[in-house]
Symmetry: C2
């Protein structure tokens, strides 16, 4: 009875706090749109300060430090109940960028400013309990639980702008950098397409190529050289950029540079046999055929071995080495590890890996209270075979040395939660129950009556671990991980008492949280000319103008704020009416 009373007091207090928070948010919004800002805001601020500092002393909040303002970090912060923690965000970029639209930024279809949202605006919406430092973290000291940072801009700062931040929980969401595979000359001569600045540079560079090719006294050879655009890497980013560039050239630039339009060539270099290999074969084929019709040269089976300022050297198993002169090159062959993550991996005994390994709860292995998500981490799913004897022991409640189907059914829920590959395997074989699995591995099994020993149990589960696959390094994964982790942090206290996770196989009791599960919502591959290929859940494929409109609506709805949503939509409309902008800025 006392517990209920206390709980209802808490509820009432928190409700009051929440409504107060909403009230002050209202005031802030009013201040933003009203224009006569500061005074009104000051009121809202002090209201809020009163609301968040109750009269009884509260235990000091745990410090949560978030490294990075990309998809993972931002979605974590957006979904976190920031009143529970002392949150600090550290990133060299004070904004979140909607990266899937970067290829559109390269050709002026969408404006750079339309795809970014200041992280402080996002913090402001959460009530101001969060601090942000614009700095680069250069060392994670997990022993002393602190991170060392350096301002990106040294002017007027003491100690070169270096400082350290203590944490109780660390969220590493720093993303990745472009992977050059140590190919000589790439960093010096190629553009990447990971950051907003990259997209802006590519834009200027494309226009420079056209202006150069257009100068008087150039031979046709030189014009061709300047207007050869090479994209290395046939993944979604490279392909989308090639398509955007082709549209830009044929729809807008050709009219403005009629003297040189015939010299333009776009090439996509791919080391594998096909482009867009992560998509369904039908999409790959459609893309390759469309590119051929558009005159985009897709060179598969070519590996780039060197890049100079004038030519790209590549090799093919049949033809050997060739030098290809070019005007501009974009390198988009996947992601590599940031130096600080490499150092940290060495520190925690993960040296030699490509990205940080975490468990299914996004916790870095061998490292307490450090979480990693997004492109800088991967979940190393525990294998059933590694735990098979423990699982057997837990399931064998009567210690008979054999398992009845009843006993298996009792723990199957926990097993599927802990080892999602089991569920995936059942699904992929279109089996509904575990007994079907036994049927498959042992011939016709009379259900409920069978008793399994450990060998037979092992045999039944032998192939399930093949279902374990690394998640792709996409915005979708990062964003879902951020949301998941924020939820865990929001309910951490409750879960300490009433854990919701599966049975611990090694150890006793239950895991606190459900492990992270990725839900694939589909993927787009815009192919230019208002045509997009979409691979939706359930292997549903859609290609053409319809999915371009789906693309427009999904990307508009996924925008992080109403400002960017309006900006992106108005950029698109402007593109339709006036074409893309071709000024060199």
């Amino acid at each position: 009875m006392r517990f209920t009373a206390a709980s209802s007091f808490f509820e009432r207090a928190s409700e009051a706090f929440r409504s107060n928070s909403a009230y002050s948010r209202l005031l802030v919004v009013f201040a933003v749109s009203g224009g006569g800002g500061v005074v009104v805001y000051a009121d809202a601020g002090s209201n809020h300060a009163i609301a968040s500092e109750p009269q009884q002393p509260v235990p000091s909040k745990k410090k949560v430090v978030v490294l990075g303002t990309g998809w993972a970090g931002t979605s974590f912060v957006k979904n976190l109940d920031s009143s529970l923690y002392d949150v600090q965000i550290i990133s060299p970029r004070n904004y979140f960028a909607f990266t899937p639209l970067l290829p559109s930024v390269t050709c002026g279809g969408v404006d750079a400013r339309s795809v970014v949202e200041p992280i402080r605006k996002i913090m402001q919406k959460k009530g101001g309990n969060i601090r942000f430092w614009e700095a680069e973290c250069f060392k994670i000291d997990h022993v002393n639980k602190k991170v060392l940072c350096r301002s990106t801009d040294e002017k007027n700062l003491v100690q070169n702008g270096e400082f350290s931040v203590d944490y109780d929980y660390l969220i590493i969401a720093m993303g990745a950098r472009a992977n050059t595979f140590n190919t000589p000359g790439v960093t010096e001569n190629c553009h990447f397409l990971k950051e907003v600045e990259d997209a802006q540079k590519i834009r200027r560079s494309v226009m420079d190529c056209f202006e150069r090719a257009n100068l008087p006294n150039l031979s046709d050879e030189e014009k061709k050289k300047n207007l050869h655009f090479i994209i290395v890497g046939g993944g979604p980013t490279g392909v989308e950029f090639a398509a955007e560039l082709h549209d830009f050239v044929s729809e807008d630039i050709a009219k403005l540079y009629p003297r040189v339009q015939d010299f333009v060539k776009i090439s996509v270099i791919e080391a594998g046999e096909h482009i867009l290999t992560m998509f369904d074969k039908r999409i790959t084929q459609f893309a390759e055929e469309k590119f051929q019709r558009d005159g985009i040269d897709v060179k598969t089976g070519f590996k780039v071995i060197k890049v100079s300022d004038k030519a790209i050297t590549m090799t093919h198993k049949d033809t050997g080495e060739v030098d290809v002169p070019y005007g501009m090159a974009v390198w988009s062959t996947g992601i590599g590890t940031r130096p600080i993550i490499m150092d940290f991996m060495k520190d925690v005994g993960q040296g030699g890996r490509r990205v940080l390994a975490t468990d299914e709860w996004l916790r870095v292995r061998q490292c307490d209270d450090v979480y990693a998500l997004g492109d800088c981490a991967t979940i190393s799913q525990r294998k059933v075979m590694d735990d098979i004897s423990v699982i057997f022991k837990i399931a064998d409640k009567d210690n008979s040395g054999t398992l009845s189907i009843k006993e298996i059914q009792d723990v199957l829920g926990d097993i599927c939660q802990r080892y999602p590959q089991v569920e995936l395997y059942l699904k992929s074989k279109q089996m509904k129950r575990f007994v079907d699995l036994l049927n498959e591995s042992h011939g016709n099994v009379k259900k409920e009556s069978i008793e399994l020993d450990i060998e037979k149990f092992k045999q039944a589960l032998a192939d399930v671990d093949n279902q374990v696959k690394n998640l792709p390094a996409t915005a979708q994964v990062a964003s879902q991980q951020g949301t998941y982790l924020a939820r865990c942090f929001n309910i951490m206290k409750e879960m300490d008492e009433n854990p919701e996770g599966p049975l611990r196989m090694r150890g006793s009791g239950r895991h606190r949280f459900q492990p992270f599960r990725y839900k694939h919502l589909g993927q787009f591959a815009p192919l230019g000319g208002e045509q997009t290929a979409a691979q939706l859940p359930g292997d549903w494929i859609s290609i053409g103008y319809g999915s371009q409109w789906l693309w427009y609506s999904v990307y508009a709805s996924k925008q992080v704020s109403w400002r960017t949503r309006l900006a992106v939509v108005s950029d698109w409309s402007r593109k339709f009416v006036f074409g893309r902008d071709s000024s060199c800025i």
Copy 2:
């Protein structure tokens, strides 16, 4: 009779051409908005080619080379009948920038891309008879009638991208650069505000200052230092930037950086006694009072003598030297001469001057077929006193050695055209006729009956040359000069036969064209907080919210294209609804 017939044939032909031209423009517009561009455009292009190449061989067109794509160059090109000449434009910027909105770009109120229009779009609208080279002209060889140019980007080019272009007529419209008065450290440590790139850099720099000041472990002193924004120069640009920055800070940034908002300081340093001295005293006073209310520190009478990376050293006649630490400084003290203009001035015997001197028809003195307009040139108005004896001789038709009022009235129109200072003088003294001038200088004169000798004539006109004033270096002047010069070029052939200009005082016959006359349409000084001071023709002063709306409508209507007009208006609306963007890109 034959002449009439020929003329009507010409009229019909030109009418046919014009309608054909309109037809192809219609097609081009359709192609732009339709999206499926190239083929349609090719049709339009060939139509046009047929229209502009009549069956009879035409004499080769004169080559007109335009240096610069600023206000003067662009307004010249826009208004030129490009079918009459072989036009080439040379500029390191392939776009026209609406410079009066640059201060708004610095604080994210308007987007950089919204204030620029690609020069090729402007060319395209004119039918494509114009060529553009993106290059820097580094030498004007007026003896051999050619200009030497260098591409701004050397990659993949022979001979370092250098080339030469021949001209028959050269239009120099290269503008000016910022004037540092050789103050040490300015170029290295200060921002300027002349180009779009400058505005973008200032924007990033403002945000960097806030991010730096916001870092942990900074003393209040250091925060203050980082958030001290200094504007050197109290002219319209500096004042408008100060006002924009103040609005940005108080309306948008203060909410996002609540920990540091109290440390912000904005100072305007002016060597003279007041800011905005080119405006009416009422505006100056209002601006100074408003800035004081806003907390903007206006320091008049201070001269900057040195800038280091941490402090600006300035001196005042009363207090002597002081060092003022700062976070960011913008240098806006007027315009200086570009090196190529200096070289050219030496070549044509104008060494030692600040800008190129032209005659009243914008022709560079001592230099045939070279015209200069905009900020790089100034009209050196011929003085009445220099020509007084010639004028007397021309007016004295009966060679009597004296002038009758009748004789003066006969040439007064030509005198006022050739020497606008005479008209200005009469206007400024509120005199309607020349005889009033005689009345003033000789007491009461009985009109029509008087005969003047040369001494009396000199005496009457003694003060008129004081009315000669250099035109301000504004967009308005440059734009009107471009329009004027284009008109001269358009009617050059007709004017060779039927000159419209005033009598030649030295030499015989008439000048071909009316000399350039500047028509002042008013000037704005936005002062922040949606208040603008406007000085309109006839000394009409308007200050406040009303003139801010006038500012909005004038600047929207003056945009060079519908695309930029829409972009600017939607940027303004976005600013009202969502505030300015504060991301560091």
